[in-house]
Symmetry: C2
Subunit: 458 residues, 2 copies
């Protein structure tokens, strides 16, 4: 295919936007996943319009060339790792915020727009796109592909709850638009929702309609040490039941807290005698439209948590709150630096977190494997870093961690997606009837299987 | 098929739960749709367990017998109208609230549970399922099938935003479970979201996991008369931008308000000189966790609306608020009583409501057809009742109303669904590429086409 393919791609996007051979930088050969090795694509192509994407897909489809879409490459599951001999479709140049519509409270963006960039634009109009998976350089296209979550899910849900519509290109080169600038619709199967979280296997998203919400300017972070992890996570139902509607509810165990405060040099203001008694912390962020209303909510949070057995309640002052949240968001990097061999982002019903945590400790002991983690207490999403250099033992540990979570009513991935990294666990642990439906759906969208082959399932 | 079918069905569910011939009451031959005629099924079958549903489907699938699922029959699009020669699968006996889980804030229900019944159960634990499409006797299974909306969508979204997981039976008789007691998941295509809104064409839902929220006990209803309809709907962006987060934002035009207040004998407390100047009203309901916080929000609502040109702002006293909301929710029945020949529940971006309303008036004039309506100002969903006895002219008017809405970025149905009533407009106005994808998906789930044939598309 090579020369013909190259000239066709160059014809579509212009010579300078087709990379091949040595011109392909290492970045394009992988994402941030710890366990999926890099793979060089045949070409990296950088379209700038929907029409160019359509022409590339039509050509690739005709010639059976694999196409892997790529946003910022911040994914953690290997979903943006190229297929051998294929094209990486980098959407980095499709990076315009097309509209921030103040009347309908929506933004319309191209897939290469980053969360940071969108935040700058929405800020000008006192609006905000409230989903934040913790990495400002992540692209909205990638967020849609993985149904990205993050710490604010307890209040705002995940990407699928805030995406109202899409423009997407099918492998045939046909362009469809789904949904619109509205929340309410019941007009056939919801293709928007089907494409969200499909990891680039059904269609290439070229435009995204996002719901925005008012940017609430007042925010307070409360830290509550608890004598036990169960006590910390067990207080969450009462906290949410209070009606305060917190923006984030995270738990951090003693070891993780020591690690991140020492590394980031954060002064929490928690007296050392309290720290000594605290085996876990609950981190609660509350936002409000006025300082006065926020204070009432913070008071209520304090009452509830003390009633639930918190050792005390501290309002984090100055830069401690953003530092701690930032450190918490970057805990993947801490794990990576410490030499983690694999990570999980499993989800269980939030009330099952203590039970799951207990079982994780048992698995760690049994297989003499270090497993550390922290989690989104508000939504049952637990991040674990596993340190085990023996590949066979690592595989056993991983499978047990997944199977244990699933037995508690959970799912393999809460927010990273399946990609290439988790597909063997997904294939082994997921119901074959559901896998068959998914394969069937994939075939409807992509009969020749050119879109991100190797991701989700084989 | 008849004798064999009957004995098999009786074998599965017991003789008393298989109706045929004269034993089939009229209710089972239709839903509340104005335009889809009744059709008698061959059998009405009332299973009480998932296993019975699975056995019925397996049998029907083997013999190619159409199966139409039915909840409470309160639908407005003919989606529960039986197929000739088929089985109506009435889920009325699967009506148990299986669990109200206070730890995870979810309810697990069978599809025949009504909204009223669920509300009684959640009330005991100070929780609430916040979606309310306006009819307490509607079943949750029906709500899932149509992705039901209602007046609270501006705060809580629609059914798909509050359903976390499903148990569903495929035509093959296989039972799948999707999602779980969590909000965050990224593990393959979202089958939960795909089945929601599929109007019984992909699978039969036998269990539903619903997200619950704290039941906020304090609620105030504000009524703001505006000199023009544009003024009323035009104030909505500022209202939502204020961060108050209202539960409902409805507009009611002068004629509709006169009709519903006269019919329901509601005393609004709006002086007659103000009423004379008011061409439209905005109805805003705010809820809060304390009386004090609620008062602050109500104050802010008043300030914003007066700033946006409201003639004044009235807090509805006593029973006026629930009466007005109830009357508004029942406006379909008012239209039906008045002799409406068809209804629409179109959606447009909410800022396009005034433009759409203007065009509706033009269509009404041009075709000498009475068209009245009201709408959910917070979410762009407009309900229109069309009075036109000439079928050809009615078809023209309907098509123009749909096409006009779609041209403004809208969709055919916001909350009633397509069913049998709207499928010709859907087929004509929807993108053929999307229709082809939907047909393909339907075939993946239901290769023989036994599930609700005649609904959505042919």
């Amino acid at each position: 295919m090579t020369m013909d393919t190259r000239s066709e791609l160059e014809h579509i996007v212009g010579g300078e936007f087709v990379l091949f051979g040595d011109r392909i930088e290492e970045d394009y050969t992988k994402d941030e996943c710890l366990t999926v090795g890099a793979e060089a694509p045949e070409y990296v192509v950088k379209p700038v319009t929907t029409d160019q994407v359509a022409r590339i897909l039509r050509f690739a489809n005709e010639h059976g060339i694999p196409v892997t879409a790529r946003g910022s490459g911040t994914g953690l599951s290997g979903a943006a790792t190229p297929a051998a001999g294929g094209i990486v479709l980098s959407l980095e140049r499709m990076s315009r915020v097309l509209e921030v519509d103040e009347q309908n409270h929506v933004a319309v963006v191209e897939p290469g727009v980053t969360l940071g960039q969108l935040d700058e634009e929405t800020k000008k109009k006192d609006l905000v796109y409230p989903i934040f998976p913790g990495e400002s350089s992540a692209s909205l296209g990638g967020n849609v592909a993985t149904n990205a979550g993050g710490m604010r899910a307890v209040k705002y849900g995940v990407t699928r709850h805030q995406v109202l519509g899409l423009e997407a290109v099918l492998p045939s080169g046909e362009v469809i638009t789904t949904g619109g600038k509205f929340v309410k619709v019941s007009s056939g199967y919801d293709l928007t929702q089907l494409i969200i979280g499909s990891e680039g296997t059904l269609a290439i998203v070229t435009k995204i309609i996002l719901k925005l919400v008012p940017r609430l300017l007042h925010r307070t972070t409360v830290l509550a040490p608890f004598p036990t992890l169960d006590g910390a996570t067990g207080s969450v139902p009462a906290l949410l039941h209070s009606g305060v509607g917190p923006l984030m509810v995270e738990y951090i165990d003693r070891m993780t807290m020591m690690g991140i405060t020492a590394f980031a040099k954060i002064e929490l203001g928690v007296p050392s005698d309290v720290q000594d008694k605290a085996d876990a912390y609950l981190l609660v962020v509350v936002e409000g439209r006025t300082e006065e209303l926020l204070e009432k909510d913070v008071e209520r949070v304090g009452e509830v948590l003390v009633g639930q057995g918190a050792l005390d309640v501290y309002v984090l002052a100055g830069s401690a709150a953003p530092q701690l949240i930032d450190a918490r968001e970057k805990s993947f990097w801490a794990g990576k630096r410490a030499g983690a061999t694999d990570v999980l982002d499993i989800v269980v019903p939030r009330a099952q977190i203590p039970e799951y945590a207990t079982k994780v400790r048992e698995i760690a002991m049994q297989h003499q494997t270090m497993i550390v983690g922290c989690g989104h207490a508000g939504d049952g999403n637990i991040h674990l870093a596993v340190f085990q250099d023996d590949p066979a033992r690592l595989a056993t540990v991983m499978k047990e961690l997944f199977a244990t979570g699933l037995a508690l009513g959970g799912a393999v991935s809460a927010e990273h997606g399946i990609g290439r990294a988790k597909k063997k666990y997904f294939a082994e642990l997921e119901d074959p009837n559901k896998l068959a439906l998914m394969r069937g759906i994939r075939k409807v969208f992509d009969p020749k299987g050119i879109l991100n082959p190797g991701a989700l399932f084989d």
